[in-house]
Symmetry: C2
């Protein structure tokens, strides 16, 4: 049994509703999530000795860098050590991992991680330009390949190689929307059908508008705590048994295969070894479904199903709420929303809620072990957390 002093637990979670929040500033949104998190953890500001900040677009939109110090100030946490990490859509997961390592290193005891994004009040052109900067500017951005186009290439290749169908792809957002109905924080709380997806506007063949995660505002926060100190606080601890990260090329043309996320496979292999679990042990999974094909490929790469079986698995309900391996009970990025900097943090928050057995209508009964996969770019950064009730 590992000494509690060498373990790290999540003791607090908080988030705002994801969606359009025209009437609130990014600072207000961030403080709302952070405040909810403090209350949930039973922690006060003076207990926090480290801060991690995840945000992708504010530096571009508001020309405001140095957001870690700014967040420490606006949160009343000075002179705390405060750090911003950047890894595109995986920034949130990377921030969680660095809070985890900061505690494991012995340098910190109680660390807050907060991620936020305010995207609705920015022009779509600016959004596209900013998001594209996470792909290879020289080889992909310059020729106008946006992320929907890049993920469409992956989808087409997966269809050709494994026979994945339009209906299977469509099953991803259908499941996401069905799950989000029970998530009070989700952006889209309504069901959709396969036909509706197949009839929706084409964005980049074969991806349609319902295959793409939306533009969202929102924030999410976590508090991580050294294992031997969790009893000082009231938040129920959920243990991080693995926190791993891996990288792949930015440009798709440099990869040997388009149907596998190598970074996901690498991070997953390390995570299972560290947590001493196998895919079959997972009770609940949050997967980065910025585009439907991403969920299908990642389902395979984390070993829930054999390579090429991601399409049939979702179509047959294997990853549905009542399936063998429920994926994205939160509604995923597609239906819960995707405020980029907050996404990886909210994924871990959902797993914590599930393992605490406080997820209400969307609770996976008896969940003990969960996994969150956060992806940056077209799989260029992958971060995996495995959490355990014990």
């Amino acid at each position: 049994m590992t000494d509690p002093k060498d373990r790290v637990a999540v003791i607090g979670i908080g988030q705002t509703k994801f969606g359009e929040q025209w009437d609130k500033s990014i600072r207000r949104i961030t403080l709302t999530a952070a405040g909810a998190c403090l209350v949930d953890a039973g922690v006060s500001g003076v207990d926090i000795d480290g801060l991690y900040v995840s945000n992708t677009s504010t530096s571009s939109f508001s020309k405001q860098e140095h957001q870690a110090a700014l967040a420490a100030d606006s949160g009343g946490l000075l002179p705390i050590a405060s750090t911003e990490v950047e890894a595109a859509c995986a920034s949130g997961g990377v921030a969680v991992r660095h809070a985890y390592m900061a505690i494991k290193s012995g340098e910190h005891k109680v660390v807050m991680v907060v991620g936020c994004e305010k995207m609705s009040d920015i022009s779509e052109r600016e959004i596209a330009e900013t998001l594209m900067s996470a792909a290879d500017r020289e080889w992909e951005g310059q020729i106008g390949a946006t992320f929907p186009a890049l993920f469409a290439l992956l989808a087409r290749r997966h269809m050709v190689h494994y026979g994945t169908t339009d209906e299977q792809l469509a099953a991803v957002p259908v499941k996401a929307h069905a799950n989000a109905v029970n998530n009070p924080y989700a952006q889209f709380r309504f069901k959709i059908g396969i036909d509706q997806v197949l009839r929706s506007a084409l964005v980049a063949d074969p991806l349609r508008v319902f295959h793409c995660a939306p533009i969202s505002d929102g924030a999410a926060a976590l508090i991580l705590c050294r294992g031997d100190l969790v009893e000082k606080f009231s938040g129920e601890p959920i243990w991080i048994n693995a926190s791993t990260q891996a990288s792949d090329t930015l440009a798709l043309h440099s990869r040997p295969h388009l149907t596998t996320f190598r970074a996901v496979k690498s991070a997953a292999k390390q995570a299972y070894a560290k947590a001493k679990v196998e895919p079959k042990d997972l009770d609940v999974i949050e997967i980065h479904d910025s585009f439907s094909i991403g969920e299908i490929i990642a389902t395979e790469d984390i070993g829930l199903v054999e390579k090429g079986q991601g399409g049939p698995a979702i179509e047959e309900g294997y990853t549905a709420m009542d399936g063998e391996k429920p994926v994205n009970p939160s509604g995923g990025l597609k239906a819960k929303g995707h405020p980029v900097g907050a996404t990886g943090i909210a994924q871990v928050g959902e797993i914590v809620e599930q393992l605490r057995h406080t997820a209400g209508e969307r609770q996976i009964e008896g969940a003990q072990i969960g996994l969150a996969l956060n992806l940056g770019g077209t799989g260029s950064t992958a971060v995996i957390h495995i959490l355990n009730k014990e």
Copy 2:
């Protein structure tokens, strides 16, 4: 005695010459520093299991985010965990600290840190705009307060309050240039005199052009290694005995005093406690002198001299090469150059070289203990490393 397994050493250093490098791409510059570092450490790419990247301006200038994965790819290190941190001019120091914590956490064994910047081929207006994004955009940037203007406010206040003189301020770049003569990597390897500084163009009263660090291209790299593994590699280990970080407000108007960097005081206090040393024990110091007044204030805040005595101390040679407490033997940011992302990494590199006793003409004889202070914004982020030969 601490178990070597619980300690972290710097086993490799590498950097390019700082200055104008019109003929080299940022990727080439970065790989040159990283390659030199691998050779110095006697480490090959397969030994590296973590990468940290520090860069400030490329995301603005080239619209290329996600640089950590890109660097892992171009360095042939995939699928390594690769992370970019951002803390304005303190990004390099924050990256070193996170490599240190990554090893102390038990998650990594041998980690490379690399920082780079390519600024000469960008318009001065773009440079100013980008650097300003590290101050408070809403309260400072909007009214046109650039960093020279903000540091000028600090300088004027220090003069009014402590009687610091124009001649004392001028002594900072005079010392920097004198020291840089002996640094083959430095941007400006020529001496200047007090009169020359006082006659130079006024930038923001009382700061003149010689008070301001230049625009530079360059890269610097370090390899950090878990203590029990250093004997596997040929690079002489220099031990990190403390790595601390603290924050302050971005906007100057929110601070109780303009003559103290609170983040520096906080980081220094923590660092001395961790390393079990006092300011009097330091043999060599690298201080962030982006503007002359920054060195004077920081000299006081890290406890080398009493508050208000930074001016007389430099004037009397207390911090000169042959003084009691040599500060910036490298030439500092002013004369060595200030390629932002590389700066904090190169500072630690200089301390390592001094403690290895391989600094040639600029060697501080018998140096055993050194401190590096990296600053972001007008002191909004401070990172301190204390290194020891033993």
